[in-house]
C-alpha cells in the first residue's frame, strides 16, 4: 500500500472529538513528537509500593459488616443429575445460614467476551467437580465443614465420555480449509515432514484463586470480583441473575493473575450474589485451589499432525495442520490450534482440519495465547525437523518461507520484522557457535544443545473508551473500567497520559477496575494495552486541542512539558492557562485496517539446554526472546510480560500436564504440588530484546499486544534444543525425562 497518498491528518477530527475508527493507517506517530520523555521508559509501577506492602486489595479482601462465607460444593459424578440435597442436615450444623442450588448456578465460567450467561444446567451434571451447591455459614470453617459433609443424592448416567482418543469427533464448519492440491505438493516435494505432536491439558493457575464478595443494596448488586473484562462480565452476571445490567456494579481494582481464566463470569460470582440476596447479607466466596483447577477453564489437550512439503531449497510448497481438541458438550470454544500457522509461513497448497471431542471433563477455554501456545509447539518443531532433514540452518529455512502476502487471504501484512527478530537474536545469542549435528557437545554428565523457534501472535484492536481529566493544578486523572491483571495497565496508561499532556508520571492518577467507568476493552487476547492506550491517547488529543485554543495556537504547534504549555509565541503554566478541569472521553473503534491488513506481533526464541546423560532431565541454561510488537510502552513492564511468556514456555515444554482419569473424567492432579508450574530454580536469567517498530495500521499509538507473544513458540525452542543436544525428538509434550532417557546416545 502506498502510504504517500494518505494524508495523516485526513481523519484528524479525532483531535476535536476524541473518537477514531481505525479505517486508515495513522502515520502521524504523534507520541514520537511529544516532549515529556516518559513513554517507553523503564519506569517503575505506581502500584508497586501497594503490592510489595500488602496494601493492594484483591477481591476476597473486600470487607463488610456482617459478612457470611460460602464454599462451593462440586459434583462427585461426571454425568447425571442431582436428585436431592439434604439441606436440613446441613442447616443443623453450627453457623450454617443456607444451602443454595437450583436453576441459576453456572455449570462453568462464561467463555471470553461471551457477554451473556454461560450454561445454567439446573442440577444436570456434565463433569466431575461441577459446582452444584453453595453452603453459606457465619465463618469459613463452618461453611467448609458443612460443604464437605453435605449429603447429595445423584442419578448417574452411564454414557459419560472421558477419553479423547476414543471419543467421537465433531468437525466444526468454517474451520476446515483446503487450498490448492496439498496431496500433490506432498507427493512432489523434495523433502517432507509428517509428524504427530501432542500437548496435554494445561491450567492457567493464577496465584489468586477466583473470588467474589457480593453485596446488595435493595436491587443494586455490588460485586468485588477477580475478573479481567468488566465490560463483558457485568452483562454476563446480570444475564445469569436475570436482572438489569444497570443494577450491577463490579469492582476489580487488583486482579491476582488471570491468563484467560478470569475472562468470563464464573460460578462463584453468581452463587455469591444469589446467597447474598437471599440472606440479605454480604457473602464472600473464594474458590479453593482445587475448585479453581476443576471449575475454571483448562486449555484443551491437543493432538496435532503437521505436514510440510518443501523443495530442495527449503521453500514450502505445501503445509497442513490438523488439530484434534476437546470441550464439554454445548461449549462453542474450540482451541484455535493453527492460529499462527495460517499466516506465518508460505506454501501455496494448504490444508487445515479441526475436530472436537465432546468430553465429560472440565470446561476448555482460553488460556494464555489460545491457539499459538500449543499450535506453535508443533509447527515450530516441524520446521526444525524440516531444517534438519534438508540440512539447512533453521533460521534460514524460516527466512526463506516468509510470504509476501497472507498465503490464504492474500492481504498484505502490517509491520512484521520477523526476519529482524531472528537475525538480531542469532547475533545476540551466539547462534553461529551452534553445532548442527545433534549430540555433539558434552560437558561432564550433560549434553548441551541450542534451539530456535519463531513467535507470532495475531494483534487485535478492541473498542475502548477512557475519560481523561486535566486539572489546572497540573494533575490528571485517567478513568476506565479496564483492568490491570499484572500486565502493567496502571503504569502504561499513566505514561501515555503523562507523555501526551506533558506531566511528570507521578502527577497522573489512573483509576481502573470499576464497571461504572467508561468501557474499556478488558484484559484478554493481548489487546488491552493498545486498545485502552489508544482511547487514553485520543482523550488526551482532544484535551490538547482545547489547551491549544486556550493558548491561541494550532494543536500541531502546542508543546506540553512539565505542566507548561508552549505554542505560537506564548508560554504559560497550566495553572495560569486553565480556568478549571478539562475532561474528555477518548473512544477508539477497530476499522478497516484490521480487515485489510494481517496484523501480528512477531518474535524469535533462542534456548540453550543441558540434558543429563544419566537421568534424562532437561535444564534450561539460558534463553533469549526477541520481539517486534510495535511501540513498546514501558520497556520494563513489557520485558516482564515477555519473561512471563517465556517461562510459561519452559513450563509447557518441560513440566505442565494436567491429568484427567480416562475412566471417569476426574481431575487427578488439580493442585499446585502435582501440577508443575515452573518454580524459581527452573528459570535462568532471561534475555529480552525489543525490535524498534511502529505499526501504523494497528492503532494511533502504533503499539501491539505482547502478553501472549512471549509464550508463542517458546517451548519449541526448548524441545528443538533438546534435539540438538541429544538427537532425541520429543513430540509429546511435556519433554519429561521418561521421554528422553531411553533414547539418549551412549
Amino acid at each position: 500500500m502506498d502510504l504517500s497518498n494518505l494524508n495523516p491528518f485526513s481523519s484528524s477530527d479525532h483531535r476535536e472529538t476524541g473518537h477514531l475508527k481505525m479505517d486508515k493507517p495513522d502515520t502521524s506517530r504523534r507520541l514520537d513528537e511529544m516532549q515529556q520523555g516518559v513513554i517507553s521508559k523503564s519506569l517503575n509501577r505506581p502500584d508497586g509500593p501497594l503490592k510489595v506492602s500488602g496494601t493492594a486489595r484483591y477481591a476476597a479482601e473486600a470487607e463488610a459488616d456482617d459478612m457470611a462465607t460460602g464454599v462451593l460444593v462440586g459434583a462427585i459424578i461426571p454425568k447425571g443429575r442431582v436428585v436431592s440435597i439434604d439441606e436440613d442436615a446441613a442447616m443443623k450444623m453450627p453457623g450454617v445460614l443456607g444451602v443454595f442450588h437450583g436453576k441459576k448456578l453456572l455449570r462453568n465460567p462464561a467463555q471470553g467476551t461471551a457477554n451473556q450467561a454461560p450454561i445454567q444446567p439446573d442440577g444436570e451434571v456434565s463433569y466431575m467437580g461441577q459446582p452444584v451447591a453453595l453452603v453459606v455459614a457465619e465463618s469459613f470453617e463452618q461453611a467448609r465443614d458443612a460443604a464437605i459433609t453435605l449429603a447429595i443424592t445423584y442419578e448417574e448416567d452411564d454414557d459419560g465420555v472421558f477419553d479423547p482418543k476414543i471419543a467421537e469427533k465433531e468437525k466444526p464448519d468454517g474451520k476446515q480449509i483446503d487450498q490448492g492440491d496439498f496431496d500433490a505438493a506432498m507427493r512432489d516435494a523434495a523433502a517432507t515432514v509428517d509428524s504427530r505432536y501432542t500437548t496435554p491439558v494445561q491450567s492457567s493457575a493464577p496465584m489468586e484463586p477466583h473470588a467474589s464478595v457480593a453485596q446488595w443494596n435493595g436491587d443494586q448488586l455490588t460485586l468485588h470480583g477477580s475478573y479481567q473484562m468488566l465490560n463483558y462480565n457485568k452483562n454476563e452476571l446480570a444475564d445469569s441473575l436475570g436482572i438489569d445490567v444497570k443494577n450491577v456494579r463490579i469492582l476489580a481494582p487488583y486482579v491476582g493473575g488471570g491468563f484467560g481464566s478470569k475472562l468470563g463470569i464464573a460460578p462463584e460470582a453468581v452463587a455469591a450474589a444469589l446467597a447474598a440476596k437471599a440472606l440479605e447479607r454480604p457473602v464472600r466466596v473464594a474458590m479453593s485451589r482445587r475448585t479453581v483447577f476443576e471449575t475454571t477453564m483448562r486449555r484443551s489437550e491437543t493432538s496435532q499432525r503437521v505436514q510440510l512439503a518443501a523443495d530442495k531449497t527449503g521453500k514450502l510448497l505445501g503445509l497442513a495442520h490438523h488439530a484434534s481438541v476437546s470441550n464439554l458438550p454445548d461449549e462453542g470454544f474450540t482451541e484455535p490450534v493453527a492460529a499462527a500457522t495460517h499466516f506465518l509461513y508460505g506454501g501455496g497448497s494448504r490444508r487445515f482440519t479441526y475436530e472436537v471431542a465432546r468430553l465429560n471433563r472440565s470446561c476448555a477455554g482460553s488460556v494464555r495465547a489460545p491457539g499459538e501456545a500449543v499450535g506453535m509447539l508443533a509447527l515450530e518443531s516441524a520446521m526444525d525437523e524440516l531444517a534438519h532433514e534438508l540440512d539447512i540452518d533453521p533460521i534460514e529455512l524460516r527466512v526463506r518461507n516468509m510470504p509476501e502476502k497472507h498465503p490464504e487471504s492474500d492481504i498484505p501484512y502490517s509491520a512484521r520484522n520477523f526476519e529482524d527478530c531472528l537475525r538480531q537474536g542469532a547475533k545476540r545469542f551466539g547462534w553461529a557457535d551452534r553445532r548442527p549435528v545433534p549430540a555433539s557437545r558434552r560437558e561432564g554428565d550433560w549434553w548441551i544443545g541450542v534451539g530456535v523457534a519463531g513467535a507470532a501472535r495475531s494483534n487485535i484492536l478492541g473498542e475502548s473508551k477512557a475519560l481523561v481529566t486535566l486539572n489546572a493544578d497540573g494533575t490528571a486523572l485517567v478513568e476506565t473500567d479496564m483492568t490491570d491483571i499484572g500486565t502493567g495497565t496502571y503504569t502504561i496508561l499513566a505514561q501515555i497520559a503523562a507523555e501526551m499532556l506533558g506531566l511528570p508520571l507521578e502527577k497522573v492518577t489512573v483509576s481502573l477496575g470499576d464497571s461504572e467507568l467508561p468501557e474499556g476493552p478488558g484484559s484478554g487476547g493481548s489487546w488491552g494495552a493498545q486498545s485502552s492506550g489508544s482511547s487514553v491517547y485520543l482523550a488526551c488529543e482532544a484535551i490538547r486541542t482545547k489547551v491549544a485554543k486556550a493558548l491561541g495556537c494550532a494543536a500541531e504547534d502546542l508543546t506540553l512539558k512539565d505542566g507548561i504549555a508552549t505554542g505560537g509565541n506564548n508560554r504559560k503554566p497550566l495553572a495560569d492557562l486553565l480556568d478549571g478541569p478539562i475532561a474528555q472521553e477518548g473512544h477508539i473503534e477497530p476499522g478497516a485496517t484490521m480487515e485489510n491488513f494481517d496484523q501480528a506481533g512477531y518474535g524469535a526464541h533462542f534456548a540453550e539446554v543441558a540434558v543429563n546423560a544419566i537421568t534424562g532431565e532437561t535444564r534450561v541454561r539460558r534463553m533469549l526472546g526477541v520481539f517486534a510488537a510495535g511501540r513498546i510502552l514501558n520497556a520494563q513492564t513489557a520485558r516482564s510480560q515477555c519473561h512471563g511468556g517465556m517461562i510459561w514456555g519452559i513450563g509447557g515444554a518441560l513440566h505442565e500436564e494436567l491429568h484427567h482419569d480416562t475412566r471417569d473424567g476426574h481431575m487427578v492432579n488439580g493442585d499446585l504440588a502435582e501440577y508443575h508450574v515452573p518454580v524459581n530454580l527452573d528459570v535462568p536469567q532471561l534475555d529480552v530484546l525489543f525490535i524498534h517498530q511502529r505499526d501504523d495500521h494497528a492503532n494511533p499509538i502504533q503499539a501491539k499486544g505482547i502478553g501472549e507473544l512471549g509464550i508463542s513458540g517458546a517451548g519449541a525452542a526448548i524441545t528443538n534444543a533438546i534435539f540438538n543436544a541429544t538427537g532425541v525428538r520429543v513430540r509429546d509434550y511435556p519433554a519429561t525425562l521418561d521421554k528422553i532417557l531411553p533414547y539418549l546416545p551412549d
Binding site: G54, Q142, Y254, G258, G644, D671
Partner: protein, 195 residues
C-alpha cells in the same frame, strides 16, 4: 449421614503481630492465615492454595518463615509474628520491598507479599549458614549466588513468572550486583531494521 449439632467452641489466642498484641477469639480450626486475613484485617498475607504448596501466605514466626495456611492460629499462642505489613509501608518500604519495586519483581502482586517475607527471612537463614539443596558444602558459609537464591525461593510460586526480577531484587537487597538485563534500567530498543 449423621449430623449431630455441635456447639461452637471458640478458643482464645494471643498473637503479637508486627509488635502489636492481639487477642483472637476464634473457631479452633482457624488457620493463622485466616486469623490474619479475616479476624485481624491484615489482608497483606495471601491465600493461594491453603495447602502449603505455593508460599503466598508466608509469614515469619519468631523470625523464621512458615506457611501460615498450614498452621492453626491457636498453635501460635504467645508467638511473635511478622507479616508483610510489618516490614514496611508505602513511603517507608523496607530495602527488600523497595528492591522488588525497582526490579519489577512482580506483576499481578498476589504472590508478592509472600515472596518479600520469604526473601527477607531467607537472607537471615543464609547468614546463619543454613545449607540448601544446591550448596556444595554443608559446613562452610553460604555464598548467596543466583542459584542459591533461586533454590531457596522455590517454595514461593509466581505464575506471572517474575522470577528474574525477584532474584535481582534479592541480590540487590543483599548488597550484590543484579545479574543480566533484568537489573538494567533500559531495555535495548534496536533501531536498525525499523519499519
Amino acid at each position: 449421614m449423621a449430623n449431630s449439632p455441635r456447639p461452637i467452641a471458640m478458643i482464645e489466642t494471643t498473637l503479637t503481630i508486627n509488635g502489636t498484641r492481639h487477642e483472637v477469639n476464634a473457631d479452633p480450626r482457624t488457620t493463622l492465615l485466616d486469623a490474619l486475613r479475616h479476624h485481624l484485617g491484615l489482608h497483606g498475607t495471601k491465600k493461594g492454595c491453603d495447602h502449603g504448596q505455593c508460599g503466598a501466605c508466608t509469614v515469619m514466626v519468631d523470625g523464621e518463615r512458615i506457611n501460615s495456611c498450614l498452621a492453626l492460629a491457636c498453635m501460635h499462642d504467645g508467638d511473635e509474628i511478622t507479616t508483610v505489613e510489618g516490614l514496611g509501608q508505602p513511603g517507608n518500604l523496607s530495602p527488600m520491598q523497595d528492591a522488588f519495586v525497582r526490579h519489577d519483581g512482580y506483576q499481578c502482586g498476589y504472590c508478592t507479599p509472600g515472596q518479600v517475607v520469604s526473601a527477607t527471612a531467607m537472607l537471615g537463614e543464609a547468614k546463619r549458614g543454613w545449607p540448601s539443596f544446591v550448596s556444595d558444602d554443608l559446613d562452610t558459609d553460604v555464598a548467596l549466588t543466583t542459584q542459591e537464591i533461586s533454590e531457596r525461593m522455590s517454595g514461593n510460586l509466581c505464575r506471572c513468572s517474575a522470577y528474574p526480577g525477584i532474584v535481582n531484587a534479592i541480590l540487590d537487597a543483599d548488597g550484590q550486583q543484579p545479574e543480566g538485563e533484568a537489573g538494567a534500567e533500559i531495555v535495548n530498543l534496536v533501531l536498525e531494521g525499523a519499519q
